[in-house]
């Protein structure tokens, strides 16, 4: 009987000690909460996640949580409000040491609520424009990496195409047009692309389509004036506004239609444009965005560096993606190095 009592005491001690060790380990484990503005199937998000994981998988002692706001597929203000509430609930639930906010909507709907919060450090990624609209300017707990489109690299690519094509068109006669949907991020991008110095080419301006019907109109009626059409995104295009056809058009359908109906080459400013069906894109590296944000989070957690002391960075890397068959069909030949680059980053398609 006495031995039984001793055994019972030992069992209880073992359980209490086990629970205490687990609790201590769990409570002291750093938590990183990644809030994506969009959905996990969106190529941009997917590749940023790849970049984040390249760094974070080297830190198995971190607990990494993921939250997707999905505001690219659901663009209404009501949905954004709801998505914001849910994302902030996730922040309250996990109480993360570092909050990684990907793309503008996450900063708009979540980040601004935690500026200068002493318990939460913010690392943003994929901010298309300035960070000051979200209250990040001078904030003690915020750092991150901006995402500015690679217009210079695109200009050089177009220059290379022109030279390779030996079209003998005077550079000043090459005209470029930009067509976009009316999403938040592209609204921010618009002022940058409009302000960019496209010389020696002629920039015809940006066209913002409110729906797919208007997009089609731009392509059929206006694109013939240009030699190249630039696109970045079209995921928020509704089939036709005001007619009850509110469903979003699948990106593959938009690109397929655009390729078939455009008289001039359509080039992408995002890596995933080629995945959607474009012939060539020169885009911001999502991997750099993810890797940089994750490295900043590691510095904050492991090296105890305050976000204030980590400078906000501008993206440096770009990636080329191509569909060679489509390029050749349009009579476009690029130097070998483009193909090698695309192949080496697994962004080459025949």
């Amino acid at each position: 009987m006495r031995r039984k009592a001793v055994i019972n005491v030992l069992i209880v001690i073992f359980l209490i000690l086990s629970a205490a060790v687990v609790l201590f380990s769990s409570i002291t484990k750093p938590i990183i909460l990644v809030i994506h503005s969009y959905d996990p199937d969106y190529a941009w998000c997917r590749d940023i996640t790849v970049g984040l994981q390249r760094v974070l998988k080297k830190h198995p002692n971190y607990s990494v949580k993921w939250h997707y706001m999905d505001v690219k597929n659901h663009t209404s203000p009501a949905f954004k409000r709801k998505a914001g509430i849910q994302a902030r609930e996730a922040v309250q639930r996990w109480q993360p040491d570092v909050l990684i906010l990907v793309d503008d909507d996450a900063s708009e709907l979540v980040g601004r609520y935690y500026v200068n919060n002493p318990k939460i450090n913010i690392v943003f990624a994929g901010l298309n424009g300035e960070y000051s609209p979200y209250g990040y300017e001078g904030a003690a707990n915020v750092t991150g990496i901006l995402e500015h489109k690679q217009y210079k690299a695109m200009k050089e690519t177009i220059d290379t195409i022109e030279k390779s094509a030996k079209r003998h068109v005077a550079a000043g006669n090459v005209k470029i047009m930009y067509i976009a949907d009316n999403s938040t991020s592209l609204a921010i991008d618009k002022k940058y692309i409009d302000a960019f110095d496209w010389t020696p080419f002629e920039y015809l301006g940006s066209y913002v389509a409110r729906d797919f019907t208007q997009w089609k109109k731009f392509i059929t009626e206006d694109s013939a004036r240009a030699d190249y059409i630039l696109v970045a995104n079209y995921r928020t295009l509704k089939r036709s506004t005001g007619t009850g056809q509110d469903e979003l058009v699948h990106p593959n359908e938009v690109v397929e239609w655009t390729n078939s109906n455009s008289k001039v080459p359509v080039l992408g400013l995002n890596l995933f444009n080629v995945e959607d069906g474009c012939m060539l894109s020169v885009g911001v590296s999502p991997f750099e965005q993810g890797e940089t944000a994750a490295s900043m989070a590691v510095d904050i957690i492991d090296k105890h560096i305050s976000p204030r002391d980590i400078p906000i960075r501008l993206n440096k890397q770009f990636i080329v993606a191509m569909r060679k068959g489509m390029l050749l069909a349009k009579g476009i030949e690029l130097p070998e190095v483009y193909e090698v680059f695309a192949r080496s980053t697994d962004n080459y398609k025949n």
């Binding site: 069992i11 209880v12 359980l15 629970a19 687990v22 609790l23 769990s26 409570i27 484990k29 938590i31 607990s63 949580k65 993921w66 939250h67 997707y68 999905d70 597929n73 659901h74 209404s76 949905f79 409000r81 709801k82 914001g84 509430i85 849910q86 609930e89 996730a90 309250q92 639930r93 996990w94 109480q95 509110d246 469903e247």
Partner: protein, 480 residues
């Protein structure tokens, strides 16, 4: 299924039809989908799921067998990697269900639930009103703690039997009043064990299945507390409605001749609170603490519940025999296979085909959610007359959850609506627990079946109203 009549084995029409359709439907579905341009994998998936549905709807086999059939077929046809097909068995939902069932088993087998029931009877004034309230709240209190309706029925039915057996002696009541009084007690008990089934994650196996079918993000969001919090207005409305129905329709208030000596004897026999009962209470307290302290401990409630079940096994309170026999493993296999089915469907991108083909419904959900509530309520109500509850929930959840996600409607809310409306059972044949409860009490309770059906029908309309009343609350907390 098979019945012995005059020494001969007869087979029901349902069974004939079921096995006939089991042979015809998959071939037809495969050929149709091939003609419609589906790829090989999608056609096989559709054919396998169609057989599974036929088996569920016609009830020719226990629910978990068709579920396992689908898992086996997906693996043998290599429709997805094994880790996707079998993902349900490694999911948090699976382990949460195991843990909740384990804790529920201990609450019942330790005698804690029986002691609670007796103590309530001892305290309550001896009249039908207070006993109706007692029976109702007994069922209600065990709703989040005992995760099977039949388990709660097993707790409440003996108490009801005790009351009816020992409390009507020497009362001068005519037969009609007596029947009405007993029906009121019966209905209060029944409503108590079922009324808030959809309001707590842990109150029925189907809740845990739907939880397991939600996207991971929604699962993390709608664990125990948030699930109940989001159901708050619905729960409140249902409770208030119960009291109104009690006052207006189940009114049969009179004194009872309660044999308190009998109750005292039973409690004396049970003795003081036993160690196992203390441990069961401790388990409940730790689980509750784990829920509220999740932001501090950073441990998901699933693993808190699993740790509790492990501790119960470790100290021997949940003995190996109870672990084998009292936990509903057939349900757990159904749960694992269902989550695997949904994940296989997503892997094959069939959810996108569903969304594309039922785009009108997705648009409807998105553009007019208020009308969608009526549509789903009426559809489920009608379908439930001929199709069993489990099958209805599984079919509706597998179809509507991808649509909800595509249309930006909360998948939890959609799952909740399905569970809430599917739980309505006006006639005894619509829910096995209803017939079981009636059988468990029929020796002493000659309840008026029609009255119980009327109450359940009234509650269906109350449910629709409760959902509408919840809309502003859901909008406020960001669910809608």
């Amino acid at each position: 299924m098979e019945q012995q009549v005059s020494g001969k084995t007869t087979v029901s029409w349902r069974e004939y039809t079921g096995w006939l359709l089991t042979n015809i439907v998959p071939v037809a579905v495969y050929l149709y989908t091939q003609k419609a341009g589906f790829n090989r994998e999608s056609s096989i998936f559709a054919a396998v799921v169609s057989v599974t549905l036929v088996m569920w709807i016609t009830e020719i086999l226990p629910d978990f067998v068709p579920g396992l059939f689908s898992t086996l077929m997906f693996i043998l046809f290599s429709l997805a990697p094994n880790e996707v097909i079998l993902s349900g068995f490694a999911s948090e939902g699976f382990f949460l269900a195991v843990s909740v069932l384990g804790l529920g088993t201990v609450i019942v087998t330790s005698g804690l639930s029986h002691r609670y029931s007796l103590m309530m009877l001892k305290i309550m004034p001896p009249n039908t009103f207070w006993y109706q309230i007692s029976l109702f709240f007994t069922g209600l209190i065990f709703t989040p703690l005992v995760p099977v309706i039949s388990g709660r029925a097993a707790i409440v039915a003996p108490v009801l039997n005790e009351i009816v057996t020992h409390s009507y002696n020497g009362l001068d009541l005519d037969e009609r009043t007596m029947a009405r009084s007993k029906t009121a007690l019966f209905a209060s008990s029944l409503i108590g064990i079922t009324l808030l089934s959809a309001s707590f994650l842990s109150s029925t196996p189907l809740n845990l299945i739907v939880y397991g079918m939600l996207p991971l993000q929604e699962q993390q969001s709608f664990q125990f507390i948030k699930w109940s919090y989001a159901s708050l207005v619905v729960s409140g409305t249902m409770l208030i409605s119960f009291f109104i129905i009690l006052a207006l329709y189940l009114r049969s208030f009179h004194k009872l001749n309660v044999n308190k000596d009998f109750i005292n004897d039973e409690l004396v026999k049970m003795g003081r609170l036993k160690v196992v009962e203390w441990i069961a209470v401790f388990g409940i307290v730790v689980l509750a603490a784990g829920m509220f302290a999740a932001t501090i401990t950073k441990i998901s409630v699933t693993w808190v519940a699993f740790a509790i079940m492990f501790a119960l096994l470790f100290v021997g309170v949940l003995n190996p025999n109870d672990f084998r026999t009292k936990i509903d493993w057939s349900f757990l296999f159904l749960l694992g296979s269902m989550i695997g089915l949904v994940n296989t469907m997503n892997y094959l991108k069939i959810d996108l085909i569903v969304v594309k083909n039922l785009g009108w419904l997705a648009n409807y959900m998105h553009s007019d959610f208020r009308q969608f509530i009526v549509l789903i309520a009426l559809t489920i109500f009608v379908v439930r007359i001929i199709i069993p509850m489990n099958a209805v929930v599984l079919i509706f959840a597998a179809t509507l959850l991808p649509l909800a996600k595509a249309s930006g409607i909360s998948t939890w809310l959609t799952g909740f609506l399905i569970l809430f409306f599917a739980e309505t059972a006006v006639f005894p044949f619509q829910a096995p627990y209803l017939s079981n409860f009636r059988n468990a009490t029929k020796a002493v309770v000659n309840q008026q079946e029609r009255s119980v059906s009327v109450v359940n029908l009234l509650l269906f309309f109350v449910k629709v109203a409760a959902i509408y009343l919840s809309i502003p609350f859901w909008t406020m907390i960001g669910v809608l």
